[in-house]
Symmetry: C2
Subunit: 339 residues, 2 copies
DNA sequence: GCCATCTTTGCATACGAATGCATTAAAACA
DNA sequence: TGTTTTAATGCATTCGTATGCAAAGATGGC
């Protein structure tokens, strides 16, 4: 039915018997058009199947209404779900998401940045811990509003939205101590980024408050294999830990698998606690006690912050932390349960 | 350092002492420019931090080099991983991905389509089984090349890339029969789309070849809760199945959880086979025997088909099926093992 | 019914880059 | 060296829409 040929506002104008400007105004919220004219135009537009060309509009207005979303690995279920919610939220605000998969090779990053700028994105969200500092800096230098999701960068002057990672780590410490654990180890998230560091720090502080030292601590690099190896290694020590706090759920699953593989029972032999509360954490096979990142609120805050910065570029960057509750499930012995 | 102010080809031209056309040609592969001029221009461009504006370029050329990627739910790990690979493949070809999350409400879909067209995408990939037929039709009507990933639509004249679903189902039938199972049930993928139907059909045909009838069959709608309920229901029958083929891994995990929850052992009491071979299928907690969708090859075929159609719009649609091998793990009793 | 005020509307231009055409500079050839 | 061919460049126009400005129309007050 509709020909493949491009239909422009001029075609619509011709059919409706008005000027091109009139057509434009009908599709520009807040512009001055007589209701009668608008009706004619809309009718003509519908008849022709006309759609305003967003790209042309972007040129004129200088706003593309495109947000660049930079992510790295989607294996960790936390990110797909975050992407889903971010997309929806942005779509609701009339923005669209240009997706960039970032491999972390230097050359790739370079190209990615170029592309991000070339497409005139109005703002950027980096939804991955593994984005290099350098990249975030360059985006900011280019004057494009940027919000880091699930990662902070202290002193960078960039906005970020995270859960209260340190507090979350501390909650885990208190919970495990209250549950009677005394040899509490940590397989941390990558220590190259604040997220992993803060969770570790929180744990250690919490332990210190109870007069405990961390029994062991290894950087799991957010990598399943690394985490599994770390767990394996810890359990072969002369005095193995009686609980392991793992830096995120994604690694925690690998840790549980690794423990079971060597015949250990969770939580009878070792308690395991994760961080994120991805949907999978609630699944029967893992039933993971974990700290919930309140995704909906984090997304809301991210979008709100970004759009505010787009509207007012002079606005100061903000670092938002959202409280993360501990979710009790079966992978860790609870206070009052028999050891 | 670089001012937020927009730098255009005219600025570069001025600094390099050439015309705007010259600058354009330097950044247009295949255009005729003297090496000396190119060098001057590149130097000036670098000095100013100039990047060609993709949006402006898109207007002139009529090609945005943007691909619309429409997805629905990202809970099923198959899709995030697919998105990751699709993005990378398209980025390598110089395309970019505009991501659309489709809730399946009618109104939403309408808006989504409008947006897809408004952004002048060069092509569309629908990476979800749950996209309505209607939507795909309308994209095609608009004359935009479209490839359906992981779903076919027989007789639609649209391109699709899937694994050989029917054959996959048949492989499962043969495998389960060879393993000594006789009461083989199916919790299928959504029967509203070809993917789920073909897998079911393949299973049934395979069973028929062995002189067997399906022991039971319920539509799991690709939904965890539905699948779990179905499994529960099946096992409470007077003669429960001794094997269940589940329409995808995502549901299969739920089924295994449900079975274990009522004290059944997998595979000793019931064998479970999935479809997809998502990374999680290999994890210790499930160790799922499943049919592997060869993601890399599917992505490759999808991108290739789409780009071919973009280059030559007259090109006929094609339905590509890629062979899917059965991956043997621990969730199903194997031929030769004791029952 | 007339003038002041507020809406509508069209005209013309701008956004930033690509490209056909004509012109000029350089290279190739005799 | 002169002429033909080829490569390089600039000019002007184009893509589709938004918007300032001025003119025209509608509305209201008295």
């Amino acid at each position: 039915m509709s020909a493949g040929g491009k239909i422009t506002s001029i075609d619509v104008a011709r059919l409706a018997g008005v000027s091109q400007s009139a057509v434009s105004r009908v599709f520009t919220p807040g512009a001055s058009v007589a209701p009668k004219t608008a009706a004619k135009v809309r009718a003509a537009a519908k008849a022709l199947g006309y759609r305003p060309n967003s790209l042309a509009r972007a040129m004129i207005t200088g706003k593309s209404r495109i947000i660049g979303l930079v992510v790295a690995y989607l294996d960790n279920q936390f990110y797909p779900v975050a992407i889903e919610k971010l997309s929806h939220a942005l779509q609701n605000k009339g923005y669209h998401v240009l997706l960039f998969m970032a491999s972390n090779t230097a050359g790739e990053m370079e190209r990615l940045m170029e592309d991000l700028l070339a497409y005139q994105v109005d703002g950027i969200i980096t939804a991955s811990v593994a984005i290099s500092n350098d990249v975030t800096r360059r985006c900011a230098d280019a004057g494009i509003p940027l919000v880091m999701f699930n990662r902070g960068q202290p002193g960078s002057g960039l906005s970020s939205v995270t859960s209260a990672n340190a507090l979350g780590g501390r909650k885990v410490a208190h919970f495990l101590v209250a549950g009677g654990h005394r040899r509490i180890a940590h397989i941390s998230g990558w220590q190259g980024a604040s997220t992993g560091r803060d969770r570790a720090r929180g744990l250690f502080e919490g332990l210190a408050e109870a007069g405990l030292e961390p029994h062991a601590a290894i950087d799991g690099l957010y990598d399943r294999a690394t985490a599994a190896a770390a767990a394996h290694h810890m359990m072969q020590a002369a005095t193995p830990p009686d609980a392991i706090f793992v830096g995120n759920d994604h690694m925690a699953f690998a840790v549980i698998d690794a423990l079971r593989a060597i015949g250990l029972r969770v939580p009878q032999d070792v308690s395991v606690v994760g961080y994120d509360d991805v949907p999978m954490a609630a699944w029967g096979a893992y039933d993971l006690t974990t700290v919930r990142q309140p995704l909906a609120r984090m997304v809301e805050a991210t979008v709100e912050t970004l759009l505010a910065q787009i509207e007012d570029p002079a606005r100061a960057a903000q670092s938002i932390e959202i409280d993360a509750p501990l979710i009790l499930r079966g992978s860790a012995r609870q206070p009052g349960e028999a050891p």
